[in-house]
């Protein structure tokens, strides 16, 4: 039985507008794949199709051999497909610790419990503490997220998604809006992700992409233009013309 995510012929049309056309993509456990392409290429649409926010017009999405194309966003989360938000979307008035406690409780199906405190379960707290350590958030753990710098909020965003214990993690522009002086925080955090996790990174920051990705898929106008290792992509004349070296003419 094939493991991991297997996308075949995925298409999405909004009326006459084609935003994704015949996309094939595999994400095996441990994959580090980057999805790049100019603005409007359909990268976020692809991510939304895989996580279930959008329904595909055609094509199949299989996860561990099972067709998940008709499952809801919630059902896919419980199977282990999770995505970070392109624009930070956190519980801003809750503390960092509360932000991480919530997905752990939700994953464990404990959020309908009303008569015991949310705080203080040793297993949950141990997991939350481990995430806080993993992302170097210890000094900020009891601050409301609104107090944090944007780069730190992006780390909470990743930690929160990782708290769902996903098997496929989609990072939608993890470094977007982060000042370049803080980008290394994001890169380090991505490099420290569990080895067996399948990661799809949608990103504009080429330095970050070439550091963390083992393979790169180039998307243009909703279609896959080419794919390969970072070296072949960097050498591809069409990619250079269309995207990477656009300003050279």
């Amino acid at each position: 039985m094939p493991t991991g995510l297997e996308v075949r012929g995925l298409s999405k049309r909004f009326g006459g507008l084609v935003v994704a056309e015949g996309i094939d993509l595999d994400l095996a456990p441990g994959a580090r794949t980057a999805l790049i392409g100019p603005n409007g290429a359909g990268k976020s649409t692809f991510a939304n199709l895989v996580t279930g926010i959008l329904r595909p017009s055609a094509g199949t999405i299989r996860f561990d051999g099972r067709d998940i194309g008709r499952l809801s966003e919630r059902q896919r989360v419980s199977l282990g497909i999770a995505k970070t938000f392109q624009i930070t979307n956190l519980f801003t008035r809750l503390t960092v610790r509360e932000n991480l406690r919530l997905p752990v409780l939700e994953r464990e199906g404990r959020c309908m419990r009303m008569f015991r405190p949310a705080q203080g379960d040793p297993e949950v707290e141990a997991e939350v503490d481990a995430l806080i350590r993993q992302f170097d958030l210890e000094p900020l753990a009891d601050r409301p997220v609104s107090d944090l710098a944007y780069g730190q909020q992006r780390l909470v965003e990743m930690a929160l998604t990782l708290a769902l214990r996903p098997r496929v993690l989609i990072l939608d522009e993890p470094a977007a809006g982060v000042p370049s002086s803080e980008t290394h925080l994001i890169t380090d955090a991505i490099e420290a992700l569990p080895g067996d996790l399948a990661v799809l990174i949608i990103e504009h920051d080429m330095e970050l992409v070439f550091r963390v990705a083992a393979s790169i898929v180039v998307l243009v106008n909703g279609r896959i233009l080419t794919e390969g290792t970072p070296d072949t992509i960097a050498a591809d004349p069409e990619v250079r013309r269309l995207y990477l070296g656009g300003e050279d003419g």
């Binding site: 919630r74 938000f85 919530l102 419990r113 949310a118």
Partner: protein, 320 residues
């Protein structure tokens, strides 16, 4: 432990008020009942982030249900409260299935519509509710078979206070639970809650039903103690004033509901007695002052005061 100081101080003040204002027990009891009602709105609006201007729908249902129950079935007050809670919960569940599909302004309009429909139903069903004349003839047995309701309202006050304390403790447990945390999460970001696998719709309906049960208890208390239910229990003004009381005290904090309600009703009581024509002006000024200077409500007053005294640079300095 620090979280207990303010609620305990409020309870102490409520006990002291019984002895300090022995001739105002009817008014004090009205405050306590209103606190229960505003607590229900705090759960729905302050914690779950459901904007409502129609919580009176559940309050009124609880009042009529408890009143009718005592007239036709049984005069026991605690059984009446249970019936009121069930009525409030049932109305919240039925209307919530529709209302929670909407967002924002549409949702507010729907909550108002539900209360308006019930108002008209109660008005038309004259034979059952007494219509505009109100539901009369409510007789309530002694509490636990021991404490008879008296003319001065001593039993009524202690009874209402005991129920209010029980509701407060129950809600305090709920808002600290995983369920309560998930409601705050929905308040902050429904999209994110869906993305971590929560069903926002059912979670909000559950909160609405619990809030509806509490509002029903408040209505039942009012019916039992005043021994009258009028159409006003469904009035828009009741829902709206309760929301203002909550905002005054501070949303998303249970003690905020207690403080806001007490202050609003006390100011209203004194201002209306001194100047029957212009007392609304005082309320308006009070609300404006709080919204401008203490947007988080009166409960944030101590922190705001310390913020004025402590060097403001400290907070910015440790950001960098």
């Amino acid at each position: 432990m620090r979280n207990l100081i303010l609620p305990l101080a409020c309870l102490l003040a409520a006990v002291a008020a019984f002895f300090v204002f022995p001739y105002d027990l009817a008014f004090l009891t009205r405050i306590v009942i209103m606190i229960v009602f505003v607590l229900s709105i705090d759960l729905v609006l302050g914690y779950a982030g459901i904007p409502t201007l129609g919580q009176a729908a559940m309050y009124g249902s609880g009042a009529y249900a408890a009143g009718l129950f005592s007239i036709h079935v049984w005069g026991d007050p605690l059984a009446g409260l249970a019936v009121g809670a069930l009525a409030g919960a049932a109305i919240a569940a039925l209307s919530g299935l529709v209302v929670m599909r909407a967002r924002g302004l549409t949702l507010i309009m729907l909550t108002i519509a539900v209360a308006a429909i019930l108002h008209e139903l109660a008005n038309r069903a004259r034979g059952l509710t007494g219509g505009a004349d109100g539901l009369r003839g409510i007789r309530v047995d002694p509490v636990l078979g021991l404490f008879e309701f008296d003319f001065i309202g001593r039993t009524g006050y202690w009874y209402a206070l005991a129920v209010a304390v029980a509701v407060f403790v129950l809600l305090a447990v709920i808002v600290r639970s995983p369920f309560g945390l998930s409601l705050r999460g929905i308040h902050e970001s429904p999209a994110r809650m869906t993305a971590i696998g929560a069903s926002v719709y059912w979670r909000q309906i559950t909160a609405y039903v619990i809030g509806g049960a509490v509002a029903g208890i408040a209505g039942a208390l009012a019916a039992q103690i005043t021994q009258l239910v009028s159409l006003e229990v469904f009035a828009f003004a009741l829902s709206a004033e309760a929301v203002i009381m909550l905002i005054l005290g501070g949303t998303g904090r249970l003690t905020g509901a207690v403080i806001g309600t007490t202050l609003f009703m006390t100011v209203e009581h004194i201002a209306a007695a001194n100047d029957p024509f212009n007392w609304l002006f005082v309320i308006g000024a009070l609300v404006l002052a709080v919204v401008f200077f203490l947007p988080a409500g009166l409960i944030a007053l101590p922190r705001a005061l310390t913020g004025l005294i402590v060097d403001k640079g400290g907070r910015d300095a440790d950001r960098t």
